[in-house]
Amino acid sequence: MARMKFLCDADRCIDCNACATACKNENEVPWGLNRRRVVTINDGIPGERSVSMACMHCTDAPCAAVCPVKCIFSTEDGVVLHNKDLCIGCGYCFYACPFGAPQYPQTSNFGTRGKMDKCTYCAGGGGPEVPGSIEEYEKYGANRMLEGKLPLCAEMCSTKSLLAGDGEVIGEIYRERVAARGYGSGTWGWSTAYGDGDASAGAVAQSDRDQVRAGE
């Protein structure tokens, strides 16, 4: 069984924001909401790196655990989806999310939040809508997974920094890259999202450590 993951190779990311733009366009993400974003660390100083971040589709997802109405769940592929019909916009998933993935449209007065919106791995929604239907598209965005396609952000990435797919496969690609070029600044977010107990995450973390040792 494939375990879907995202991996951003920060040594390749050029902060072009094509992933964020592709996501907004493909899923018709409303104004003010950002399912994917690019954050630049050490901006303008030596060692600057950019990381594209969205929902990492965590193992034992913290958002799903704290949801008071249990509207968030993991699919068989490890994709974290949610049912907007049940969501009450309490904001707890944002407090629990290590990656700032949940987004809320501001619906009315004060800080009242509407139904949570987040990256669906381009796999439609977790509601009762028929997969691939126009109703599902309007609520959750594209269902590329149904067509056998990967999330558009990763497909669109010009430097192939952002990888999507089976965790073991993309982990192996990253490991090969690190071995070939001789350095790697790590799989950002993997240990937090998938835990050190995760087999492919553990292997990738090990290759990073090996590189660090080799560089010393």
Binding site: N42, P68, G111
Partner: protein, 338 residues
């Protein structure tokens, strides 16, 4: 031989300047591989190092939403553990524990009756405005408590009963009710504090009251003013808990207006913990004000209490009231005795 000396001075100065410049050179320039080629990753910090320095990795972001500049905050996992393990157990222990204590108190001590029986003469204890403020606060509190408990425990208690879809609708409604009722609670609590803070200032008589076992020993009725030490404790605890839940609640109601993600997590934690303790406190308050003590509910219900009740529980207040010219009235015959 002045020339060599000047020469030496010049040389020393040049060396000193060189040392200073070398020390001030950016570290990057020296970061090369062993074969002299530049190392592109030499100054790159990895995730682990960044997280060891600070619990959140924050960078620069191109979009206006600055919350999104936080790249990774593993504290979310901590929030998850707090919310799923600590909070659930804490809530169950505090609430079930308090209910168990009250049942034990009822079974062991039982309702505290008026030792001298009813006199049939009544004296005004709370004015209609005082009762209004109390019940405004009480109604708001019960609504807030139930809708608040639903957020934490509804999915274990209510959701299996009515199904996820209905529960979603109910919880959405409960959230809005919770948000808007908070304003009534603020008004009620503020009024109560303003009305009663003067009568709740701790006095020497309160120490005696506690030493004599307060309201828990049936045979003894230590003197007390308008509020005894037990009531004063409820007042001050409610004041502190009220301020804490109101402050943390408004942070949650206006998310990220004044605080960042860390502040929001702390606000949610404080709000939940204090609210649970507050509910436990009010459960005890409800017990002693209803089934726990004969004649106590009338004070807040009708506003008047039996003279014997006042003598037994608030002797000093009764004297004060008499001096102030508040006259006890015979009970109207229309009201049947209990």
């Amino acid at each position: 031989m002045t020339m060599p000396l000047a020469y030496c001075r010049c040389l020393l100065a040049a060396i000193a300047v060189l040392i200073v410049v070398a020390a001030a050179m950016p570290a990057v320039a020296q970061q090369r591989n062993s074969d002299g080629s530049p190392d592109p990753t030499a100054s790159v910090v990895n995730e682990k190092t960044l997280l060891q320095e600070f619990p959140r990795i924050t960078g620069r972001i191109d979009i206006p939403d600055q919350r999104a500049a936080v790249l990774i905050q593993p504290a979310g996992r901590m929030f998850q553990r707090f919310h799923e393990v600590f909070l659930n157990w804490f809530g169950v222990i505090v609430l079930v524990g308090m209910l168990a204590l009250l049942v034990i108190a009822y079974l062991v001590i039982g309702p505290i009756r008026m030792t001298a029986g009813r006199s049939g003469i009544r004296i005004l204890r709370f004015t209609s405005f005082e009762r209004f403020a109390h019940w405004l606060n009480a109604t708001a509190f019960v609504i807030l408590a139930l809708t608040g408990l639903n957020i934490t425990f509804g999915r274990f208690v209510l959701m299996p009963l009515i199904g996820p879809d209905n529960f979603g609708v109910v919880s959405q409604l409960a959230k809005y009710v919770h948000n808007f009722t908070s304003f009534a609670f603020v008004i009620g609590l503020t009024t109560i504090i303003a009305m009663w803070i003067r009568d709740n200032v701790p006095r020497r008589v309160d120490i005696e009251w506690i030493k004599e076992g307060g309201g828990f020993i049936k045979s003894k009725h230590p003197p007390a003013g308008r509020f005894n030490a037990g009531e004063k404790m409820v007042f001050w605890l409610a004041l502190l808990a009220g301020i804490a839940v109101i402050a943390s609640g408004f942070l949650l109601l206006f998310p990220f207006y004044v605080t960042n993600i860390f502040g929001m997590q702390i606000a949610q934690g404080i709000h939940a913990i204090i609210a649970l303790l507050f509910i436990a406190l009010i459960l005890a308050h409800i017990y002693i004000g209803t089934v726990g003590m004969e004649g106590a509910f009338e004070a807040m219900g009708q506003g008047t209490v039996d003279l014997n009740w006042a003598k037994e529980h608030h002797s000093l207040w009764l004297e004060q009231a008499a001096r102030a010219g508040r006259k006890p009235q015979a009970q109207p015959s229309a009201t049947p005795a209990e």
